[in-house]
């Protein structure tokens, strides 16, 4: 008989199935466990310092207990606002260009440049913003920090935008053009709209990445021990403050650094959830 025995086949299959399943489970664990450990450690050390004062009070000199990061939170908000105002529109615009009009040599150059920019160390981007903005204006500023982080957003946003736009089927574009809708309208109101949830994912990735950046802010936003809401002055930023506190010799500052890191993670996660919620109203759902 050619028919192999039933039990031996099912045993082999069950074995290989079990092996493969434990393999991928292990791989997932290797990815997830360090993440949970990091989050757990930050939460464990940070949660004790979490109180209202952290959000409302200014940093205190070493030796005094208490104090908070009010100025750094505001500073980070200002810097991220400028960065988003630069990085999101330029990134989306570049992505649309690459996907819809970039099938040529110029598109290839732009694509390559974006990829290289993505790989440039963030401190180099900080130095670039320093040379372009800080040196010409003659002072550190929230504005220059926003420019540095904005530049960092562009490649991530543009490449993800391009990729999700290319995933929109050609038939959808043809449907719109066939209705007598002009090309630009088709791109903005049909193609971009169809790919919106993917573009939002790209924006969130880029935002999360820059929100924790420290190096590009060192020579741009510079940091500030005092309260400042001027875009033209140096401002404090949460990652900068964490860095300064973490390398200091004071226990009280270490404690604040942990809390700062914990709050930073919470804020980024909160911003993502808000953003996702705001852009997924109604029946707009991700589709094939």
């Amino acid at each position: 008989m050619l028919k192999p025995s039933k039990t031996s086949v099912s045993l082999r299959r069950r074995l290989s199935n079990g092996l493969a399943l434990s393999g991928i489970t292990l791989a997932t664990a290797i990815v997830v466990v360090p993440l949970i450990l990091i989050m757990g450690t930050v939460a464990y050390h940070g949660i004790s310092g979490l109180n209202w004062a952290f959000f409302t009070q200014m940093p205190k000199p070493p030796g005094e207990t208490g104090g908070g990061m009010a100025n750094a939170l505001v500073g980070s908000g200002m810097i991220l606002m400028i960065a988003s105002a630069i990085g999101i529109p330029m990134g989306i615009g570049t992505g649309i260009f690459l996907a819809e009009y970039g099938r040529n040599a110029y598109g290839d150059v732009v694509r390559f440049t974006a990829d290289v920019l993505n790989g440039v160390p963030s401190i180099v981007i900080g130095l670039t913003a320093w040379a372009l903005v800080v040196v010409t204006q003659g002072h550190f500023s929230a504005f220059s920090g926003g420019i540095a982080l904005g530049i960092m957003m562009i490649p991530t946003v543009s490449r993800t935008t391009e990729e999700v736009l290319l995933m929109v089927p050609q038939s959808v574009r043809e449907a719109a053009l066939g209705l007598g809708i002009p090309q630009w309208r088709t791109t903005l109101s049909v193609v971009v709209r169809t790919a919106m949830s993917g573009i939002v994912t790209g924006i969130m990735l880029a935002f999360a990445r820059i929100a924790g950046e420290t190096a590009p802010l060192m020579f741009t936003a510079f940091g500030n021990q005092f309260w400042s809401t001027s875009f033209r002055e140096p401002v404090a930023a949460v990652p900068l403050q964490i860095y300064v506190y973490a390398i200091s010799p004071f226990d009280e500052w270490h404690r604040l650094a942990w809390t700062g890191a914990f709050v930073l993670i919470l804020l980024i996660a909160g911003a993502m959830i808000l953003f996702r919620f705001a852009t997924s109203r109604g029946i707009m759902r991700e589709t094939t």
Binding site: R103, V172, E174, A176, G178, L179, G180, I181, R285
Partner: protein, 253 residues
């Protein structure tokens, strides 16, 4: 009302590859005209030349003259967008806009061209869906459900409604029923029968029974050339050209 289409010496290329050779024919107004022929014979390219969709493909080129009513489709200063507004198109695979509701799908052609009067849009959407024989099936979830949540046959009727909403003079249908089951197919065919009162219809089809059922005239394409064009009845009972007869009787293609 529909308008007739006059095609003179139409040639079309993809890059250096010629897809259509010297096509000449007259498509009568307010009738259904079928275009048949084996795969790759240029049927789709032909209808896509009528509404200037052919040129949206990189390196594609057209030469010759197409007249729709009084308008020279490829005339100087005539924009493809203005032509496409007067010609509706239904594609082989249903292609509703995935992120839009049923209502927005139908209203898209008007809304995205800057027409926003609420009440009139409501009327157009209802009338178009009724003409596409879909109204009764979707009237309760117009804004709740997305276009792609419908079944394949419903999606195709939605696409027909979407094309009707801009009140074209001509409807081009590129194998509109080839991806559908027999019940949906017969619904679409019934629809074509009704639509030709108001529109000139050009339908590309692989299905010769379908051509025989719905079309008044039929054109047979082979390797980029129009072999024969005549009344459907004549084409299917007493074709002039040997190749038409061979194709219709299933001897090739």
């Amino acid at each position: 009302m529909g308008v007739g289409i006059h095609v003179r010496n139409l040639n079309a290329w993809f890059g250096t590859k010629q897809a259509l050779y010297d096509i000449n024919l007259e498509i009568p107004a307010n009738q259904a005209t079928a275009v048949i022929g084996p795969s790759g014979c240029g049927k789709s390219t032909f209808v896509r030349c009528i509404n200037r969709m052919h040129e949206t493909i990189p390196e594609a080129r057209v030469d010759g003259k197409i007249q729709m009513g009084d308008t020279d489709v490829y005339g100087r200063g005539i924009s493809p967008v203005s032509i496409r507004r007067r010609i509706g198109m239904v594609f082989q695979k249903p292609n509703p806009f995935p992120t839009m509701s049923i209502y927005d799908n139908v209203a898209a052609g008007l809304k995205l061209n800057g027409f926003h009067k609420r009440r009139e849009l409501d009327e157009v959407v209802e009338r178009s869906l009724q003409n596409a024989a879909l109204w009764d099936e979707v009237k309760d979830d117009l804004k709740k459900k997305s276009g792609i949540s419908l079944s394949g046959g419903q999606q195709q009727r939605l696409c027909i409604a979407r094309a009707l909403a801009v009140q074209p003079e001509i409807m081009l249908m590129d194998e509109p029923a080839s991806a559908l089951d027999p019940i949906s197919t017969s619904k679409i065919e019934d629809l074509i029968f009704q639509l030709k009162q108001d529109y000139t219809i050009v339908i590309v089809t692989h299905n010769m029974q379908q051509a025989a059922r719905v079309a008044d005239h039929t054109g047979f394409f082979l390797m980029g050339k129009l072999i024969e064009f005549d009344k459907t009845e004549k084409m299917f009972t007493n074709p002039t050209d040997k190749r038409t007869e061979d194709y219709i009787t299933g001897r090739f293609g």
